[in-house]
Every structure is written in structure tokens, then in C-alpha cells.
């Protein structure tokens, strides 16, 4: 009896405390909202938003609903996260490997890079790129093109865009290439397991991947044109680029800062992962006659990835969450569009902040569920 009470009492107390706190908050919220004449509900999402967004991936203007504004913000956030992840991964892997270089100068340079960018607040870095570095760029009319087609101006980066004809056929060909590569890989593995023969899978895959899409250009009627941005004078002092793809400076500053900052953490993950493999593994692999390439591919990487991937995913998550700093430089991400402008207009603090938080929460939780599943599937199976 005594034992049970000892277990139940603390639980009851915690539960009671939590319920009391939540009840207190809920009661106050109800009273406050009644006083202000607001009703709780998500009906406002279908109302006309009547505000404009600077940069959006989908068709949007003031006549669309708040739900659409939410979608615009979410897509912008995902865009930043996506570019940032690619940038930081490339840079992080390079720096991580450089930190293990036998060349003293390279190792030190990489170490200083990590120490430098890691110890400066991300917000400061974003501000630096946006307000100091990118503001020093020339005006559109004074810009010299890079390689003839890129224009880096104070108004953003203007690059040529692709103009596709019959894009769908091209995409089908890419999908077909991927499917056939998968089939070949499975077949090659079976062949190796059953008969011990090895197919040159890599070169076959690469040639397939190049050949199939190329075929569509030749016979599928797919054609590709470049639309190079051209400067156009609007009035005496105002210039604008026509054609091409314009990347706003907010996006550049944000992805640059996020990429450079997160790369330092990814570099450390990569370094730890490769250092975590004992030398014996490499020597053992060499002693059974594997080539250096095979050692890297079959022995080192599978083990190093097991150490590298979980913390790196964590960094990707951090990057996604940090992309909310976009609000500081007015890049229209989820926080700025939805928790900023939409909240100001509707005044529905509780609903909007909860939706925003819930969005981030579901991104994080779904990725961590995936991670747990992945960790379990690659964990060393001990008997």
C-alpha cells in the first residue's frame, strides 16, 4: 500500500499541476477573448487576405485567402531550407574532409573557418550579408555581367532561366532512367551474390542518366532555350531586368548565411564520423585485397555514414528552424507572412501562432520519426 502511494502521489501532483496551469491559461484566454469580442476559430483562413507578398513561388495576390498566404510562406520557408541544406552539405563535407587533411595549411584554414563562423550569431551574419555586403553591390545600370549572363546587383541576382518545350516528356525520361538504374542495380547485386560477377554499375548508370534524357532532345521534340535577363529602362532613373530569373537579395543573404553557418556544424559531424572509424578497418580491408575505391565505398563510408547522418539531420532541422530568422530581413517566409502580416491584420494571435508552431513542430517531428526509423534500420545488429 505504502509502495503504491509512493508511486502514485508524485504522478498525481504533476498531473494536477499541469492541468491547473493549462486550465488557468485556458480560462484567462476565454475571458480575455470575450472581453475583446474575438471568437476562437479558424474561419478567418478562407477570408480574403488583401496584402501582397514580395516573392512567392505560387500565384498569389491580395485577393487570395489567408490559407493561400500560409501556403506561400510555407513554400518560401521550404525553399530557403532546401537551398540552405544543399549549400551547407557541400561546404560542410568539403570543410570536414579538409580538417582531416595531412596538409597543415588546409587543416588550419578549415579549422579557422569553423571557429570563425560558428562563434558569430546567425542573425548577425544574416544582417551582415543583407545590409552590408549585398548593399555594396552596384545598381542594375552599372552592373557588369559575369560570364555574360549573370547579373549580381543590389536588386538581387539575375540569372538566365530555362524555357522548356515539352518539359513533361523530359521529366518522364528522367524517371525512366532512374527506374532502369534501380533495376540494373538490383540485377547487378543478384548477379554478384549468385555468380560473383561484377557489373560496372556506376558507368552504366551515368551513361543511362545522360543518354535517355538526351534522346528526348533528339527525337522526343524537347527543346531548351535560355532566356537571358536583359536590362530595360523603365524611366529616367529606374531600370529593370526583363526575362531570366530574378533571385531577391533577401533570399541570397539568407541562404548564404544559413549555409555558411550550418556548414561549420556539418563539417564537425563529418570529421567526427570519419575519425570514428578505427584505422584497423581500413587496414583489414586492404589486407583482403580491396582497392582504395572499394575500401572507401564498401568499408569506410557505410560505417562513417552511420555516425554522420543522425547529427547531420539534426543540423538540417536546425537550419529549417533557423530559416525563420528570415523575418528579420523581410524575406516573406512562414513567420513573416503568417505570424507577422496576417496576425497584424486579423489579430488572431492564438490561432495563428499555434498554426505556425504546429507547422514547424510537425516538420521536426516527422523528420525525427524518420530518423529513428533510419537509425534502427542501420544499427549494428548485435546478437
Amino acid at each position: 500500500m505504502n509502495f503504491k502511494l509512493k508511486n502514485i502521489l508524485p504522478q498525481l501532483i504533476t498531473l494536477l499541476a499541469v492541468i491547473l496551469v493549462f486550465g488557468f491559461f485556458a480560462y484567462n484566454a476565454q475571458v480575455n477573448m470575450e472581453n475583446r469580442g474575438i471568437e476562437f476559430g479558424f474561419g478567418f483562413l478562407s477570408q480574403e487576405s488583401s496584402f501582397d507578398v514580395q516573392f512567392s513561388l505560387i500565384d498569389y495576390d491580395g485577393s487570395h485567402s489567408y490559407a493561400r498566404a500560409y501556403l506561400v510562406g510555407l513554400l518560401n520557408t521550404l525553399l530557403v531550407a532546401f537551398i540552405g541544406i544543399i549549400l551547407s552539405t557541400i561546404l560542410g563535407v568539403i570543410v570536414g574532409i579538409a580538417r582531416l587533411s595531412s596538409n597543415y595549411l588546409i587543416e588550419r584554414t578549415a579549422a579557422w573557418y569553423v571557429e570563425f563562423f560558428r562563434n558569430i550569431p546567425l542573425l548577425l551574419q544574416i544582417f551582415f550579408w543583407y545590409f552590408a555586403a549585398l548593399r555594396a553591390l552596384p545598381l542594375p545600370q552599372d552592373t557588369e555581367p559575369m560570364f555574360g549572363v549573370f547579373f549580381l546587383t543590389i536588386k538581387g541576382l539575375f540569372i538566365p532561366s530555362f524555357v522548356w518545350e515539352n518539359l513533361d516528356i523530359f521529366i518522364y525520361s528522367v524517371i525512366a532512367a532512374i527506374i532502369s538504374i534501380t533495376v540494373i542495380r538490383i540485377y547487378a547485386r543478384k548477379l554478384q551474390e549468385n555468380e560473383g560477377k561484377q557489373l560496372p554499375v556506376f558507368s552504366i548508370s551515368v551513361s543511362l542518366f545522360i543518354f535517355l534524357p538526351l534522346l528526348t532532345f533528339l527525337i522526343g521534340g524537347v527543346s531548351l532555350d535560355l532566356s537571358v535577363p536583359e536590362l530595360e529602362q523603365m524611366s529616367n532613373t529606374s531600370f529593370k531586368y526583363k526575362g531570366g530569373l530574378g533571385i531577391p537579395p533577401e533570399l541570397i543573404a539568407l541562404t548564404l548565411a544559413l549555409g555558411l553557418y550550418t556548414a561549420t556544424f556539418i563539417a564537425e559531424c563529418v570529421r567526427a564520423g570519419i575519425q570514428g572509424i578505427s584505422k584497423g578497418q581500413k587496414e583489414a580491408a586492404a589486407s583482403i585485397g580491396l582497392t582504395p575505391n572499394q575500401i572507401l565505398k564498401l568499408v569506410i563510408m557505410p560505417q562513417a555514414l552511420r555516425i554522420i547522418i543522425p547529427p547531420t539531420t539534426n543540423q538540417y532541422l536546425n537550419l529549417t528552424k533557423n530559416s525563420s530568422l528570415a523575418a528579420a530581413i523581410a524575406y516573406p517566409d512562414l513567420v513573416l507572412v503568417f505570424a507577422g502580416t496576417a496576425l497584424m491584420q486579423t489579430g488572431r494571435a492564438i490561432e495563428i501562432v499555434s498554426i505556425t508552431m504546429f507547422t514547424y513542430l510537425s516538420i521536426s517531428l516527422s523528420i525525427s520519426v524518420l530518423m529513428n526509423w533510419y537509425n534502427k534500420s542501420i544499427a549494428i545488429k548485435e546478437k
Binding site: Q11, N32, S102, N103, L105
Partner: protein, 480 residues
């Protein structure tokens, strides 16, 4: 004279190779150096592309000549081993050296040679370099925010005294060492709060709360001299009696006019800012997030299902959302959850929000430490008859915390780096002040100087913290 094969440098002609290599490398570096510092191109007679890559080619050939194994010359062998192992490494080495040489003159001229620091107005900045005058004029604002100029000694005094009180640990004698934990965990934060409240904020000397403080502090001091037998009864009754008597008899409300007797001029938190606010926010968040995180970690490992699930939910919630939305919540959503007449200061809300947010991260770090401890430690503690709390305080936590010093230091670093985010609720610490100064019409166009200044300060703080944690880690490292 041995035969010289230019593709394969060997030991026999060591000196021939060495001197020609030194000559080539010298030429290539001299070329880059002259180009960078005096913008003289000594190879201008060549076509521009060749003239551009010539130092690289010369350097590569030179390093190739140098690559001779076991020369017996110590420095040369070291050089070969570390930066000149193969052509690729030599190439990277040269690139790095050239980039460093190239980047010295512009950096030097921006920072020092062409920079200005004299004068009081924007006109003093005539050079092409940095305008440190801007930093000099705005320094007070960057450090103290909008805090009134002639009251700033209050911040200085508080910070210096807190620093002094904080360093007591180094001078404590053996006798007092056992009280240090108590001091740092409970007394020191409390003193810090009093300093902030009375000195920096200039809160009223007497208000409801201060009677409680006086009663509590007084009774604790007297409590040291009370025999152990009646100690419990003493602490249960005396503080309350003291509180009531203080409030209703000694300082009867009418006679002192509660809340009106100001020690100093009241400076509202909205005016605080700059670097001092960065310190205040990080300091309190550090102090609060650690114990909360510890309890959450214990809760997550607890055998009681309710406690465990609540802890998991709490931790995962805070870890899943960005800090900026948490701050949004504290500024726009949280007031809705409070009774209407209840007012909570912006700064307090922010500190609570950041503390809870970081506590979740601290909890995960500490959980890692708890999981890393072998079961034997728990079993041994239990077999000695220790209860849950005794076991954790005396056996488990000291070992677990030792293990996770680097992780905790990283979390604290993240916290310091996150403080600029409080601009969301309108509090302007260093970075926020920079943004404000940048938009001042008299000082337009000096964003770069401001950000470089802030970056240097933050870098020093964070780098010092990470080095300190590394030392701490070494100090508490125990062999297992």
C-alpha cells in the same frame, strides 16, 4: 656531377634542386607580394592570362623540386611532410598562401590605414576605409542601449560587483567550499536579481515583495545560530511572523507609502539595451535553464509514466519550434493567457521564454549523460539504501554532468548567440542597437563597421566560452 632528371628530383643533386626551388618559389611569392602591396606587375610583358597564373606555375615547379624524401634537413623534411606531400597538396598550399598575401593589403587598409577614428561627426570620415568614429560616437548606445547617460554608472557598478561576487569561488577556503554549490545555485542568482532590480531598474525600495526578502534573509542569517532541534519549527514560523510584523507594524503602509520610495530613478526595461542587455538576458537564462533542464532530464528517465510523458511532450515541443516563434508567442499570445489586470514585464517574459526553450536542449544533453552511466552506478547507490533524490544528487548527477560538459557548453553558446533574437519583441540588444543606429539619418552607410564590431565582440565572447569549457572538461576528466 650526377645526371639531373627534372621530373624526378633525387638526393644526389639535393642542393641544385633546393636552390633552384627556393629561387622559383621566391620569385612566385615576390610576384604576388608586389602585386598585392604595391600593385606592380613584374610580369606585365607576358600575356595577361599567363602573367596571372605564372606565380602558380613557378611555385608548383619549385615545390616539385623540393619534394625529396629524407634529406636530413629538418625544416625541409617538415615542409615536405606537412604541406608538400603531392602535387595536389602543393597546389592547395600555394593557393592558400597567395590568397592570404592578396587579402592582407585590402583588409589592413580597411581596418587601419585608410580608417578614421578622429572627429565627432560623419564628416570626419574621409578615407576609403572603415569609419571607427561611428563606433566611437555610438559606443555608449551599443553598450548601454537607451539607458540615460548619467545613470550608466549603475550598470557598471552592478556588473563589477556581480563579477566580484561571482569570482568568490576562486578565493574560498576549504571550510567554505562545501557551501559553494548552494551559493552559486541559489544565493548568487538571488543577489544578481536584487542588483538588477534595485540598481539597474531602480525599483522601489519597499514593495510587497521586499518585506518577504528582508524576512527571509534575516531569518536565514539568524537561523545559523539556532540549535538544530528547533530549526524546523523556527523556519516554519519565524519568516511568516517577521513578514507580517514588518508589513503591518514596522513599516505600516501609510507611513512609508508603499512603492513610492524610490532608491533610484526608475528606468523601464524598454530603455535597456546594448551589450549590457545581452549579458543580462544570457545570464538569467543560463541560470534558469539549467535546473529546469535537469529536472526535465530526470523526468524523462523517470519510471513514473505520467511524469515521463509530460517531460517528453514538453521537451519535444520546445525542441520542435524555432525560437523566433516562441518569442512571438511570449509577446502576442502569452498576454492573452494571463488575467487582464496582471502585468508581466516584456523582459521577464522573454527571459522565461528563452529559459524554457533552452531548458529542453539542456535536458536532452543531460539525458545523454545519464544514459551513458553504467547501470552499476544506480545499483550500487540503491544497494547502499539511498533513495531516489539522494542517489541522484550524490552519485548519478555529479558523474553525468561531468560527462556532458561539452554538450552543455554548446547549448550555452547557442543561448548567447540566440539573444539577438529578442529584437522580435522590441528589446534592442547589441545587434538590435546596430540596426537602429544604421537607420539614423546622420549616420547612414556605416552598416559594415557596426556589424564587424559586433561580430568581433560576439566572437570573443563565444570563443572564450568554448575555450573555458574545454579547460573545464580537462579539469573534471576522470579516468574510468
Amino acid at each position: 656531377m650526377n645526371k639531373i632528371n627534372l621530373l624526378k628530383p633525387d638526393l644526389n643533386n639535393l642542393y641544385t634542386y633546393m636552390y633552384s626551388a627556393y629561387f622559383l618559389i621566391f620569385i612566385s611569392i615576390l610576384d604576388v607580394f608586389l602585386n598585392a602591396f604595391f600593385s606592380i606587375n613584374i610580369t606585365s610583358f607576358l600575356p595577361s592570362f599567363i602573367s596571372f597564373v605564372l606565380p602558380l606555375i613557378l611555385g608548383l615547379i619549385g615545390l616539385h623540386f623540393l619534394r625529396i624524401e629524407f634529406t636530413g634537413i629538418k625544416n625541409l623534411d617538415l615542409l615536405n611532410k606537412h604541406i608538400n606531400t603531392n602535387n595536389f597538396n602543393a597546389f592547395l598550399t600555394l593557393i592558400i598562401v597567395f590568397v592570404i598575401i592578396k587579402s592582407i593589403p585590402p583588409i589592413l587598409s580597411w581596418f587601419i590605414i585608410d580608417a578614421n577614428i578622429s572627429g565627432d561627426t560623419k564628416d570626419a570620415c574621409t578615407g576609403t576605409g572603415a569609419c571607427w568614429t561611428y563606433i566611437k560616437i555610438w559606443l555608449r548606445r551599443f553598450v548601454y542601449g537607451m539607458y540615460p547617460n548619467d545613470e550608466q554608472w549603475r550598470i557598471n557598478l552592478s556588473f563589477i560587483s556581480l563579477l566580484g561576487l561571482g569570482s568568490i569561488g576562486y578565493f574560498a577556503t576549504e571550510k567554505f567550499k562545501k557551501y559553494l554549490t548552494l551559493y552559486y545555485v541559489i544565493i548568487y542568482p538571488f543577489i544578481a536579481f536584487l542588483f538588477i532590480f534595485f540598481f539597474i531598474s531602480g525599483g522601489p525600495v519597499f514593495f510587497e515583495f521586499s518585506y518577504g526578502i528582508i524576512a527571509f534573509a534575516g531569518s536565514i542569517i539568524v537561523g545559523f545560530f539556532i540549535p538544530k532541534k528547533i530549526k524546523i519549527w523556527y523556519f516554519l514560523s519565524i519568516p511568516i511572523i517577521l513578514y507580517i510584523s514588518l508589513k503591518y507594524f514596522f513599516f505600516y503602509e501609510e507611513s512609508i507609502d508603499l512603492g513610492k520610495l524610490d532608491g533610484f530613478n526608475w528606468v523601464e526595461t524598454g530603455a535597456w539595451g546594448g551589450l549590457s542587455l545581452t549579458f543580462i538576458v544570457s545570464f538569467f537564462c543560463l541560470i534558469f535553464c539549467f535546473p529546469v533542464g535537469m529536472f526535465l532530464a530526470l523526468g524523462r528517465r523517470s519510471g513514473l509514466p505520467t511524469v515521463r510523458f509530460i517531460s517528453i511532450g514538453f521537451i519535444e515541443f520546445w525542441r520542435g519550434v524555432p525560437l523566433i516563434t516562441v518569442l512571438f508567442m511570449s509577446s502576442v499570445m502569452f498576454p492573452m493567457f494571463l488575467p487582464e489586470d496582471f502585468f508581466m514585464d516584456k523582459l521577464v517574459r522573454v527571459i522565461i521564454a528563452i529559459s524554457l526553450f533552452e531548458a529542453a536542449y539542456v535536458a536532452e544533453v543531460i539525458r545523454g549523460g545519464l544514459q551513458a552511466l553504467p547501470r552499476g552506478q544506480y545499483d550500487a547507490a540503491k544497494s547502499l539504501g539511498m533513495g531516489y533524490w539522494k542517489m541522484h544528487i550524490l552519485v548519478i548527477l555529479p558523474q553525468a554532468l561531468k560527462l556532458v560538459i561539452p554538450g552543455i557548453a554548446n547549448t550555452f553558446l547557442a543561448l548567447v548567440k540566440d539573444t539577438p533574437l529578442i529584437f522580435v519583441v522590441g528589446l534592442l540588444e547589441l545587434v538590435g542597437m546596430l540596426n537602429l543606429a544604421k537607420t539614423n539619418p546622420e549616420w547612414l552607410g556605416f552598416a559594415m563597421e557596426g556589424y564587424v564590431f559586433a561580430a568581433i565582440i560576439f566572437w570573443i565572447i563565444c570563443y572564450a566560452m568554448s575555450k573555458y569549457s574545454y579547460n573545464l572538461e580537462l579539469k573534471y576528466k576522470t579516468e574510468r
